[in-house]
């Protein structure tokens, strides 16, 4: 139950979504009680994206990342070289143990009373530890190490974690999208884990609810023409480096918007109807870049001579991993809620780790001018995502519902991605699927109610 306003009584979470009409109550975006519950029910349970192993190649290397509203230290241990993630909060009195964005450490020493943790999170010393009039036999033991994530996964170089020991394995969490994520993390020649990420995280604030960009930006096919009108009018689509595509030999494929109402993932999708790889048709401004990518595409074509491409990444489109990680082959963008009306957006952009410098430079310049608060394209998104919030939260405005019915009732299951609903490319299928899963998380008492998915209990196509 969420207490909305005394005058209007308590409401069940389920009452916020109207499957028949395809609408969602605006309270979902603006109510602080719902936000608090989301942090507990969703961000404490889901697999969340932390960063990439290429950001911390050496023993002792660390970055500070986030899981929802909180910071985590992601560190490669000096002894076993394994990467682990810990809450950035000292076990003594809760001071932020690490105030740096990145670095290389022997140990993490808290600036308050010098509790000191090694790179495996173990408490290895405390200030006044040997003082005769201090701790003595009350000296904290092994159970006072940094709070470690319950499960951690290095998936082809991308780093993920969950606070919930009962969460299913990362691959089970991804379900039919496992192959897509793997494909997105391949280099352009099809080598697994062949990407490295340009450092550092691009991070900026956006005054809106996290679900505005987090749930409804992938896939939002109908926004592009209007939202990004200025980029088109200014001819910036041709400034994209990758935009001036030449026509290639037609490759049999179908494009859709898809949503997994059981697991919450979804996005754009390309089903390739035969093995192989479409012709390389991009045209970069910078000399020599096309030569490189044509060559790697050729190698990938050999690799895929008898294999059908995964439906996302490398021209296939982007998709979102629940709750709010947007993935394609050249960038990962994700959202860290701060409060009901404030989110922090992070971006990491990838490039073939074996690419020559001129190729890395061309890709880097492209992603710099495309993404984020200084990017041609995303600056337009920010304005719309921002002002949704103040215009939805008035006492009158919040009594209305949002329209999520684009394509409602037209989705169909498709054998090529079992359990996933396929719909027209410009429908809101992926967005509805996220809300299906959102509801399941908000109602669930634990992962027992969430996995294996219980279609009859939690979900329905809408």
């Amino acid at each position: 139950m969420v207490t909305i306003l005394r005058a209007r009584g308590d409401r069940s979470i389920r009452s916020f979504i109207d499957y028949e009409r395809g609408t969602i109550s605006r309270e979902l975006y603006v109510h602080p009680d719902i936000f608090e519950q989301e942090m507990e029910q969703i961000f404490q349970r889901c697999w969340l994206f932390l960063g990439h192993e290429s950001q911390i190649p050496n023993p002792g290397d660390f970055i500070v990342s986030r899981m929802g509203t909180e910071e985590v230290i992601v560190v490669r241990d000096r002894k076993d070289k394994q990467i682990r993630a810990f809450l950035n909060s000292c076990r003594h009195r809760g001071m932020k143990v690490c105030r740096y964005d990145q670095g290389n450490n022997l140990v993490f020493t808290c600036p308050f009373h010098a509790w000191t943790y090694d790179t495996a999170g173990k408490l290895v010393g405390v200030g006044y530890g040997n003082h005769p009039e201090a701790y003595g036999d009350t000296r904290p033991g092994d159970q006072w190490g940094l709070a470690q994530v319950a499960q951690f996964k290095n998936f082809h170089g991308s780093l993920w974690a969950t606070w919930d020991p009962k969460a299913p394995s990362f691959e089970d969490y991804l379900g039919p999208f496992t192959a897509s994520l793997r494909h997105c993390l391949q280099s352009s020649d099809g080598e697994d884990g062949g990407l490295e990420m340009f450092t550092p995280f691009q991070r900026h604030r956006l005054p809106t609810n996290w679900k505005v960009p987090g749930f409804t930006s992938v896939t939002d096919g109908t926004h592009a023409a209007m939202t990004h009108r200025s980029a088109a009018a200014a001819g910036l689509h041709e400034d994209r480096g990758q935009g001036k595509a030449k026509p290639g030999t037609p490759f049999p494929r179908e494009m859709y918007a898809i949503g997994d109402h059981n697991l919450g993932h979804g996005g754009q999708c390309t089903f390739y109807n035969q093995p192989g790889v479409p012709d390389y048709t991009d045209e970069w401004f910078e000399p020599g870049v096309d030569d490189y990518f044509r060559e790697t595409a050729g190698r990938k074509a050999q690799l895929y001579a008898n294999r059908v491409l995964a439906p996302h990444g490398w021209g296939g489109g982007h998709f979102a991993i629940f709750p709010c990680v947007m993935v394609d082959s050249w960038r990962i963008r994700w959202y860290h809620p701060h409060e009901t009306g404030m989110v922090e957006r992070w971006t990491l952009c990838g490039v073939d780790k074996n690419a020559p410098k001129h190729v890395k430079n061309a890709v880097r310049h492209y992603v710099q001018r495309y993404n984020g608060p200084t990017g041609f394209f995303e600056s337009d998104d920010m304005e719309n995502w921002n002002y949704v919030y103040p215009a939805s939260r008035g006492v009158r405005a919040r009594k209305l519902d949002y329209f999520f019915a684009n394509g409602l009732g037209h989705g169909k299951y498709d054998d090529r991605l079992p359990g996933v609903v396929v719909n027209g490319a410009y429908t809101e299928e992926a967005q509805r699927a996220r809300f299906s899963r959102w509801l399941a998380f908000m109602e669930a008492k634990s992962w027992d109610d969430l996995y294996p998915v219980n279609t009859s209990k939690n979900h329905r196509i809408w």
Binding site: Y100, P200, R203, R205, R229, A234, R364, M382
Partner: protein
Amino acid sequence: MLELTTVDTASLQRVILQHDVEQFLYKEARLLDERRLEEWLELLAEELHYWMPMRRNIKFGDWDLEFTSHETEINWFDEGKDVLAGRIRQINTGVHWPEEPVSRFEHIISNVELVGVEGDEISVNSKFFCYQNRLQDEVNQWVGRREDLLRRDPATKFKLVKRKIILAQNVMLPKVVNTFF
């Protein structure tokens, strides 16, 4: 009794140069604030490198890590005149939503310090405060300093050849950066 000393030519030239450089930087700021962005573009050299690195929180002494590299890393801006011209075309479409309706920008430039002169080229440092007010109550601000390389130019007095913008921020707090510094 006080005696007026003759001011030597070198000092005088330096004072005049300081004055001219200041006037150039102030004019630049005024063109931005008066929304004369295409005129601002004319003050930029064709081979301009316009760079605003990100800034990390780092351990005392790890100074090499503080600014992101424009050779290998992600920066807020790292581009030439062509990309800046594209940004200006976009702002001037009238449908670039974060700048429609247009903002009220005010750039305040100060601490102009000549660092070096080599032939036609002048290294100059300065500071900026940029205030943005838009719609009813949206306020964003950016504070920082710049390390510029100017070159003497017959038409516009100087052209901006290089600019490193050192922004006093870590996470970018405004949602969009729609002006120039």
